[in-house]
């Protein structure tokens, strides 16, 4: 077991080292113009676009531009249709035009100026086309008085909608595979196969914490983080709240839930109510104990600190998304002598919780809590699937690190590394 941990630590260290040495920075093509102007080492924009050197903005905008060339019109990729992307380049002789006009000829043959741009623009997206029709575009560079100085060649394009986002295909496949693995393990678990789940100290302590509060006749305080219901950690927190509420209902101790968002308050009220119903104690449910404080981050921290100091809860749960208020809450909770169980997937807040709380659920443990507490086979199955997914990524990372490292000396492997990177890159 320890050996596995050491191996994992070494692996992580390797990942960190390779990344820190900059083996795999995203490739950025160098602009051709920059090379001419002495090659400032400055990454430029995305692949298909060449940016005009910015220092030209400073020159006096008097003379006209010789020509705009290499105009390319293409269907705007990965959209719902209705737009065409234009990109072009300049022939520069230390002069920039005052402005540029984008001209379009539609399917009916009507010519119209669809935009006037700043003199250094090199791209434009026309979002007013209809799919399937062919349009012709050209660019005119204009003098300060508005007369055209030069005209580019014409470029034709028509727009269309895409059924699949080309930059996300690999991710779709990975997601589908992960989902299948998870569903497979859920089915296995449903058929009654016994699944092992390791001990998570923080979750094993939930019973003790609620029991202790009951013995001392003090309330349980549940803090669901400061983000709204559209944050997955808040959703996970609500699921755990349901489990904790069943326990407080069974033990008969008071449960207080102060929230920083109104939607979270409404959801928490329903969740706790359902749990009390399920535990057969609907009479013990007290809607006033689940209250909204404020949306303001530190106002909320002050309000919760006040509740801790006045009510002196015996057990405090802090599960969800936390920012800088994490330690303010956890230290105050500690000072009133509460047993504290925290959990978050915010990497920068985990150390604070570890230092100030009795138990901390780190990252994914927060999402595993519901399965752990309920021991429902279906939920446990999904945990197992999650582990399989993690194994997949560990292997992928390992292969990537090896390929990128050896690729430094032996070119073929670096293209393998590039391929692996492209698998997980999302645009």
């Amino acid at each position: 077991m320890r050996r596995t941990a050491v191996l994992l630590a070494l692996l992580l260290l390797a990942v960190g080292t390779v990344a820190a040495q900059g083996v795999d920075p995203p490739e950025r093509p160098e602009s051709a113009v920059e090379e001419e102007t002495g090659g400032e080492e400055r990454p430029s924009g995305p692949e298909e676009v060449v940016i005009a050197p910015a220092h030209l903005t400073n020159t006096v905008r008097v003379a006209a531009l010789d020509r705009v060339f290499d105009l390319q019109a293409t269907d705007h990729p990965n959209d719902a249709g209705g737009s065409v992307s234009l990109a072009w380049d300049f022939d520069i002789k230390d002069e920039v035009p005052d402005s540029l006009a984008v001209i379009r000829r539609g399917p009916s043959g009507v010519e119209e100026r669809i935009a006037t741009l700043g003199g250094i623009s090199t791209r434009y997206t026309d979002t007013t086309v209809s799919d399937g029709d062919s349009y012709s575009y050209w660019i005119e560079s204009l003098r300060p008085d508005g007369t055209p100085a030069a005209v580019s060649d014409e470029a034709d394009a028509s727009s269309s909608a895409q059924w699949i986002h080309s930059g996300r295909v690999a991710m779709l496949i990975i997601l589908a595979a992960l989902s299948l693995i998870i569903i497979y393990y859920i089915e296995t678990a449903k058929r009654g196969k016994k699944l092992y789940i390791r001990e998570i100290a923080g979750l094993a302590a939930v019973d003790d914490a609620v029991g202790r509060a009951t013995e001392m006749g003090k309330p349980v305080l549940y803090i669901p983080g400061i983000m709204d219901m559209d944050d997955i950690q808040t959703i996970a927190s609500m699921v755990i709240l349901g489990r904790v509420a069943i326990k407080t209902a069974e033990y008969g101790s008071a449960l207080m839930v102060p929230t920083a968002r109104s939607v979270v308050m409404s959801v928490a009220q329903e969740v706790v109510k359902e749990s009390y119903l399920q535990a057969g104690r609907p009479d013990a449910f007290n809607r006033e104990d689940i209250q909204y404080l404020t949306d303001d981050q530190f106002g909320y921290a002050a309000g919760v600190d006040g509740i801790m100091v006045r009510e002196k809860p015996a057990a405090i749960f802090m599960l969800g998304t936390f920012y800088a208020e994490s330690l303010i809450l956890a230290e105050t909770g500690r000072s009133v002598g509460a047993i504290q169980i925290a959990g978050t997937a915010m990497p920068s807040q985990i150390p604070f919780f570890v230092a100030a709380c009795d138990y901390t659920l780190i990252g994914e443990e927060l999402f595993a809590a519901s399965a752990y507490l309920s021991r429902e086979p279906k939920l446990l199955g999904s945990l197992k699937g999650q582990d399989a997914g993690k194994l997949f990524f560990i292997i992928l990372i390992l292969l990537g690190v090896i390929a990128a490292t050896i690729g430094q000396f032996w070119a073929p492997l670096s293209s393998v590394a590039d391929f692996l990177r492209s698998l997980v890159a999302v645009s």
Partner: protein, 207 residues
């Protein structure tokens, strides 16, 4: 039925959002955008629920003279003052609402934030004990980072800031990534459980 309808809504909305990410074509884009807007509308409407709850809880406390009821008038007065000045004068600069915000809310927020300095000290004092080799490792790295983060570190030895940068960009980065990847897997699994209705404890149903 009581559980089936919410589960069906979760499934449909969840699938729309997933498809919206992978399929740029209509109708998914429109549906996805609409769902996000609906959430904004629901959340905005819920602010009234929150405000009503706040007033209800505190008026009830005062009426029934519950424990610590004396704090409740402060909350209610503060709430109403901000609300009334905001409605009457608007929220632009130089108006009473802005004045209250700048000279009361802002300094109080800053005060809460600066409490961190004190709490970090007391938490560090308690947490950093060299009780075993791993804790000692943690303690050592904490000292290096603390020294590297201030000029004194470089005065003692000019390599300390470099050691700090190494600690931050190699072991720290590795740990951060591990947590991020693990959490991301958790997010995928949790989302799947919700979308497919496997997790339904939040609706009060176990099976």
């Amino acid at each position: 039925m009581r559980i089936v309808i919410p589960l069906a809504i979760t499934f449909v909305a969840g699938m729309i959002m997933v498809l919206n990410f992978f399929v740029p074509h209509e109708p998914f884009k429109l549906l996805g955008d609409n769902l996000q807007e609906w959430y904004m509308i629901v959340a905005s409407a819920a602010i009234f629920l929150g405000a009503m709850n706040l007033l209800h809880v505190h008026f009830r406390k005062i009426r029934l003279k519950l424990k610590n009821w004396k704090y409740s008038p402060v909350t209610i007065i503060g709430f109403l003052m901000m609300l009334v000045t905001g409605i009457i004068y608007g929220v632009v600069e130089g108006m009473p609402f802005d004045y209250l915000f700048q000279s009361a809310v802002v300094p109080m927020g800053a005060t809460m934030f600066s409490l961190l300095a004190f709490f970090v000290a007391s938490a560090a004092f308690r947490a950093f004990r060299a009780s075993n080799w791993r804790a000692t490792l943690l303690l050592t790295s904490a000292f290096i980072v603390m020294l590297g983060q201030v000029p004194i570190g470089a005065m003692i030895w000019d390599k300390i800031p470099l050691a700090k940068v190494w600690l931050m960009s190699v072991p720290n980065t590795a740990g951060q990534r591990a947590v991020m990847i693990g959490a991301a897997m958790g997010v995928v699994a949790t989302s799947l459980r919700m979308i497919f209705g496997i997790e339904r404890s939040y609706l009060g149903g176990t099976d």
